[in-house]
Amino acid sequence: MDIKELKEVCRQVRIDIINEVADAKSGHPGGSLSAVEMMVATFYTQMRVDPKNPKDPDRDRFVLSKGHAAPCYYAVLAEKGFFPKEELKHLRQLHAMLQGHPDCKKIPGVDAATGSLGQGISIATGMALGAKHGGKDIKVYTMVGDGEMQEGLVWEASMAAAHYKLDNLTVMVDNNGLQIDGANNDVMSLGDIPAKFRAFGFHVIELPDGNDLEAVIDALNAPTEPGKPKCIVAHTVKGKGVSFMEGDFNWHGKAPNEEQRQKALAELEA
């Protein structure tokens, strides 16, 4: 796929996110919309996965540590063909495949059960360690939220990833600056995020605009230093693509009503 087609995938994923959350009448649109470019770029330009063989033991792995961005994850998986797009309409419904947070027991293409913050990056570290130990050329990608980094487990995992020299692990930070209760800096300041990861022993790439698809792809393509896990700290916009959601923490975990859905879709389909 060329960049134009990938941008079209991103646009479609955003439309899917709005519809998923509006249909479900609950869910997390803000942090789903900020993560679109990174997730699309990862699944479409990096990962060796086969939607027809989602359990292939030699596949690359993706762990959505910020599991509440599930609407984005599910839209990307559906676009890739892991399951029919029809499923997106039933997100969060009783007996539906698509759970409120990623569940690897139920959903093809999902490699771990996440949603409890901090755990995904730690599970991904274990996967990368297992791949390395087995001498397998398997890459592991994980995405953490910025607010998520308030969980101590993120740093326990980061310490281990550097200690075990997991250069097959890529951590993406969706740094949109906002969390449920407000701005990171008002809730619990995160300080210098790139410096923190550097200090832990990561090869760090800073992205001034994590919603710039080409820049995201370049960052993912950039090799890490041998023996160092890679961390891409991407400054993103929460609610990206929907004007009235952009930069507003109130859209962290709130569904648009019907009027808001139509307004959002009109912008995305323009």
């Binding site: 033991p57 771990a112 409890s116 730690s122 599970i123 570290t125 274990g126 996967m127 297992g130 281990a160």
Partner: protein
Amino acid sequence: MSEKKATRVAYGEALLELAAENDKVVVLDADLSHATMTLNFSQQYPDRFFNCGIAECNMIDIAAGMSTMGYIPFASTFAIFGTGRAYEMVRNSVAYPHFNVKLAMTHAGITVGEDGGSHQTFEDMALMRVIPGMTVICPCDANEAKRAVKAAAAMDGPVYLRFARAASYVFEEEMPFEIGKANVLRDGTDGVIFAIGLMVKPALDAAAAMAEEGKNIAVVNVHTLKPLDTETVLAYAQKCGKVMTIEEHSIIGGLGDAVASTLIGNGCFGFRKVGINDLFGQSGTSNDVLDEYGLSDAKILAQVKDFFG
């Protein structure tokens, strides 16, 4: 009498045997390998041993991740940390997706002794038992510990293996071990004791003492707390009428409650739960704290005489 041996020591030995049989077995520890007895494994199989440092939550999730890559991780630390501090990682990252992680935790119960109340956990089996799909095993001696480790490795899914610090009695006779199948060690008709872990031996001794007084008390070793062998529990309770449970664990949420839940609605029974009575522990030698909390041989015998006599 045979040499005493701690179940944690048997765990360490079992790991070495398993390692030779199955190259998918890997071991994780959180800076306690000298105490959890994973040390020998770490020395003989350094490439299959992963020290996670003093970070138990991360260890559990790393084990979860490794299990998805086809490994059988044994994650070890003290029971208080593995089931307490890392509870939610066990619940959400291991049990919820039903990953093949073995939680092999040592220093459970009161027999931890001198380290005191912060390190003695009587809640661990309760915490693990309420998690759907979790298998919970507490072996009665070193031999059973070894068999339990191998059985846990042979099955798919999460298992909590509970080991003790203190050296304890080793039964000479070879006992069968099947996960979920309680062992009737002594038959009887006047009452039944369901015991788990290190409490099996004093239960048997007490039953032997009762026999001299003409009372035939059955003793059942319930090594698997979950899935509980409800068939054997129900059959012996109905046959014997009076039921006692003995565990080195809180009387809340452990064997006593599991047996009681099985019997509710299935008859009328005399029932007594013997265990830690909703208290925190304290420092002291194993024997001293066992006695202080009512679980020494003498105190158990007194309970048995009082209840069945």
